[in-house]
């Protein structure tokens, strides 16, 4: 069974090819079956493989499909490597992926680009699987770029709106910056270790490099660059919120569950390098911390339901980075898992809301949807609970593990822990703000396009099985996913000691209570029946106060990072490009031809046609020549 591992990405790839070659002539049902079915197949295969894997004592296993390139010392194959970590990833990707595909068949039902959508989706799943299965960094890079491409294509899926195109380009280019640093990291690793096979690297690196040596620092820092780009961490996080321009299932699959966590996967995969470079690892931790706080505050100010979720994704990944930074590798992976569940759930639920409100994104234009959209409501409750890490939800366990690990950090333990807890508080605040504003209070939803048919204008929840089933599964997983134990201890053998963390009862209690506190406050602000007056009043108070207003604008704009990059990088580049549209080098060469023409026009003047002038010049020439000859 494990020998069929090659089929994992093969199924979706085949689906992609079929869908592309059909050139949109297929009926939507066929396209849907192919699209979702291919991923379903690879999920089944993944399940079977994992059963076999776990029964066979979780022995790492690798299979070479074919040699890719052998140049001198470099020989890389299309080789897949399977261990606990990979296993978790493929299960998430194929499993959650399958659910989301299923959901999309309903969600995209009346979209003209149905087949195109699924072809991209399949391609994405395929490349994502390659990414996590790769046993060498080049193959990983292939998957890495592949998912980036698909993300680009899907963000810009509704291409007739230039705004989407812009968001897509931004996403691709910003992540490409990270990718490039990662590529350079690859060059460095190869020139130092002479191999790009991950396992070999992990074996060689400790023997060749001393801890904290410059090379190790450089290499891991460059890899971190790649991870930061993909996982939308500071300072490259700006692309993710805009990426919400894509269809909601995309946001669920790519920008919540799988692709954005690739960075986490990369670091976890190469954790030994990071352990060799403690300074970089600490940076990872603080990047995570800063990001999660920043994102938390920003999320609090957003009005767009998807942007809120996007920022929350950023901040949750921040948690994972925090975990990685303190060496709690499996905690990070665990959070990755649970996050995949509840964030996917939230996005899909949000999708139903948006769909039933005819692509209304502004939460303050919704409200009181509790009755109208029961399913979405309950999904949101569950998802937010898990996101907020309320006790006994999946998020609770994973976040707990992370915070405890952070607390254990030798030097900065307290700082990191406090930050993390504060983040948890913010999480509670913004996620339940979302819930309360959307589902409680009064309805602010006025139907645009009233001239349309009623069944178009009315708010009806689409609960077709295709969309209901995934929500159900994900909800269950978000609730009880915490009970799953990730089989990664073997992978992080040396990192395991961080895991059984000790914290005083007080701190434990604090960690449980603070989110609940957060929920209550947001209830006071947005949820309570007095929300209309008190809440609104309070918020007004906050906004009119100069500081509050400033903070509001500042946080709303995602801490002004976009503006910064615009002025620092984008505009100068554009200006330069405009100035030099007519390649200056060209002008230089053309000037030569002007010189020649000028010389010509000057020389032609000597051809007066007057014979006496010719005679004179003849004599003058003689004199000059003789003069030169004599002088020489």
């Amino acid at each position: 069974m494990q020998n069929w591992i090659g089929l994992l990405p093969a199924f979706p790839l085949a689906g992609f090819l079929l869908l592309v070659l059909s050139r949109g002539r297929m009926t939507k049902t066929v396209a849907g079956i192919i699209g979702a079915g291919s991923v379903g197949l690879s999920f089944l295969l993944a399940v079977m493989i994992s059963i076999e894997f776990l029964n066979s004592g979780a022995q790492p296993f690798s299979k070479t499909l074919w040699m890719w390139m052998q140049v001198g010392g470099l020989d890389t194959g299309f080789t897949f490597f399977l261990d606990g970590l990979t296993l978790v990833m493929i299960l998430i990707i194929s499993g959650v992926g399958f659910l989301i595909h299923l959901y999309s068949t309903g969600f995209m039902a009346d979209d003209p680009g149905f087949a195109r959508f699924f072809s991209y989706m399949n391609l994405f799943v395929a490349s994502m699987l390659v990414l996590v299965l790769a046993d060498n960094l080049i193959l990983l890079y292939l998957g890495w770029e592949g998912v980036g491409l698909c993300s680009y294509l899907l963000i810009g899926f509704w291409y007739d709106n230039p705004a989407n195109g812009y968001a897509a380009r931004k996403a691709f280019v910003v992540t490409r910056v990270g990718d490039t640093s990662m590529a350079i990291g690859l060059f460095l690793l190869f020139s130092q270790l002479g191999t790009l096979n991950i396992q070999e690297i992990l074996l060689l690196a400790p023997t060749q490099w001393s801890t904290g040596s410059a090379v190790a620092v450089a290499a891991s820092a460059l890899l971190l660059g790649g991870a930061v780009g993909k996982s939308a961490q500071l300072p490259l996080q700006t692309w993710l919120p805009d990426a919400m321009a894509g269809p909601t299932p995309i946001s669920a699959l790519i920008h919540a569950a799988t692709m954005v966590t690739a960075g986490v996967y990369l670091i976890a995969r190469t954790h030994i390098l990071f352990e060799l470079a403690p300074s970089v690892q600490l940076i990872v931790a603080f990047v995570g911390l800063a990001t999660l706080l920043m994102a938390g505050f920003t999320a609090l100010m957003q009005r767009d339901i998807k942007r809120i979720l996007a920022y929350s994704t950023i901040s949750q990944i921040g948690y994972m980075f925090l975990a990685l930074g303190v060496g709690a590798w499996s905690a990070a992976v665990f959070h990755l898992l649970t996050h995949a569940f509840f964030k996917a759930l939230l996005f899909l639920a949000a999708g139903t809301v948006i769909l039933s409100l005819h692509h209304e994104h502004d939460i303050f234009k919704m409200g009181a949807m509790r009755r109208r959209l029961p399913v979405s409501f309950w999904c949101f409750i569950v998802g937010s609970a898990a996101l907020t890490a309320l006790p006994f939800t999946s998020g609770f366990y994973s976040k707990d593990a992370i915070l405890l690990a952070a607390l254990d950090h030798p030097s900065y333990g307290m700082l990191l822990w406090v930050g993390g807890v504060l983040g948890a508080f913010m999480t509670a605040l913004y996620s339940f703000r979302l819930v309360f504003v959307v589902f409680f209070g009064k309805s602010h939803y006025e139907q645009r396009d009233t001239q349309q048919h009623d069944d178009h204008g009315a708010v009806v929840e689409n609960t077709s099985p295709a969309m209901f089933f995934p929500l159900l599964i994900l909800a269950i997983l978000s609730l009880f996913g915490g009970l799953i134990s990730v089989p990664v201890d073997a992978v992080f053998a040396n990192g395991a000691l961080h895991e059984e963390a000790h914290a005083s009862q007080f701190l434990h209690a604090l960690m449980i209570l603070i989110p609940i506190l957060g929920v209550m406050i947001s209830w006071l602000l947005y949820g309570s029946l007095s929300y209309e007056k008190a809440g609104a009043h309070l918020r007004k108070q906050l906004l009119v106060s100069p500081l509050g207003g400033l903070l509001n604008r500042f946080w709303f704009s995602g801490w002004g990072m976009d503006k910064l990059y615009q002025t620092l990088l984008v505009q100068p580049f554009l200006a330069l490009a405009q100035v030099n549209r007519k390649d200056i080098v060209d002008l230089v060469f053309n000037s030569l031809s002007y010189v020649a023409r000028f010389a010509n026009s000057a020389l032609v003047l000597t051809q007066t046609g007057n014979m006496r002038w010719y005679a004179i010049s003849l004599v003058a020439g003689l004199v000059i020549v003789i003069g030169l000859g004599v002088w020489r």
């Binding site: 890719w68 810009g156 549209r581």
Partner: protein, 497 residues
Amino acid sequence: MIVLILVATLFVGGAIAWASEALDARMPRVVALLSLLVSAVLLLVFSLNSGPDVGSPGGQWWILASWSWIPRFGIALLVGVDGLSLLLLLLTIFLGLIALGAAWDEIKERVGFFYFNLLWTIAGVVGVFTALDLFLFFFFWEVMLIPMYLIIAIWGHENRAYAAMKFFLYTQVSGLFLLMAILSMSYLHYVQFARFSFDYFDLQNIALVGSLQTWIMLGFFVGFATKLPIFGLHSWLPDAHSQAPTAGSVLLAGVLLKTGAYGLIRFAVPLFPEASDSFSSVAMTIAALGILYCAKVAFAQQDIKRLIAYTSVSHMGFVLLGIYAWNLYGLQGAVMTMLAHGLSSAALFMLAGGLQSRFHTRDMRQLNGLWAKLPMLSAMALFFSVAAVGMPGLGNFIGEFLSLLGAFQSNPVATIFAALGLVLAAVYSLWVIQKVLHGSLQVPNEYSNAADLSLVEILCYALMALGLVWMGMYPQSFLDVSEASLLYLQSLSGGAA
């Protein structure tokens, strides 16, 4: 022998094609197709049924044959084919067919003469890739320019006179420097061995010292670098490429540029190892500069073909980088880049040509949202732009990755800057996609009823796409062919540079 047959087939085929116009206006293209197919078959049969001849120098030459030509100067018809040449020959013939496909419906007037020029250009290129006598090499080097000049000058677009003239001037003048260098070599051979010789293998024995070596090397470098082109000598290329008819652009970008790189690999570095070694840092800096600069300029263009042309310069930077890294990775990278860029740029120019023939404009400001109208063409455009971005799994990635990998080992700084080119590549490629394919449909009204790809076009694109995927997924089949010869070339320079 096969080489002569190959060249002869093309030369004669061209002549016949011209003559056959008298019979029927559709004849020439058929004749051209036939002669190209014949040569393709010849080449395939040859490359499948034979291999390196162990006896030959370096034991890596598939063919090595010589006939006396001009005894006075020890000039001989010395031709040789090794893995490197073979790959480039295959590329040449393949792109020749593609160019034929591009011209199939586009060229309507003076058909015979067009195909005559087309075939003669290809023949010249074949000669360049096989000649090992430097005089013969230079001979073909110049010969291939004339028909290309005519192609641009007769069938080019609005500004063809200027473009053709520029193209010819640049390449000719730089060629004279090359000639000077070659003659100096043969004279030195006379001084040291008491006879003139232009034989590649003889010239390897010349003992060159100090600044003299540097000067001669520079002569070679200028000659080849102009054709490549490198940053600073590139300004002929955008005009030539954008003004040439589609088939012309295909050959220019796909094949003619590669002759420059080939020259560098075959002659410039191995013959002057020390000089090249000390020069490599300069060359690699130029390469990095070119990659970034031209990517930036490309971004600013509004004429699609101009844009693609600038991207070609940018990509050739990777080739230069790989060559002057002068280790196996770099060289293999350079070769793969040459092959892959050959296909991708050819395809892109063909697409641009397709747009022009459909909408009679190359101005991106007038073309928008074609996806809705021409889905297949747009899909192709997407595919090949993605390839040009260097997407792993497609040929260009292998080439660029290996070049950078090799370059990093000899000059990390330049490599890092060059790597930034990957980002800029993304910037301009996506910009084109956004402008032309995405957004709301907008084309010049009078041509709003343009048809999607024709069968010939589909065939060409499919072939090129397959080629790129092949190179990307199983490059080994190409790397194996070229490896022996690259190792040989390295051994010539004692691994220096």
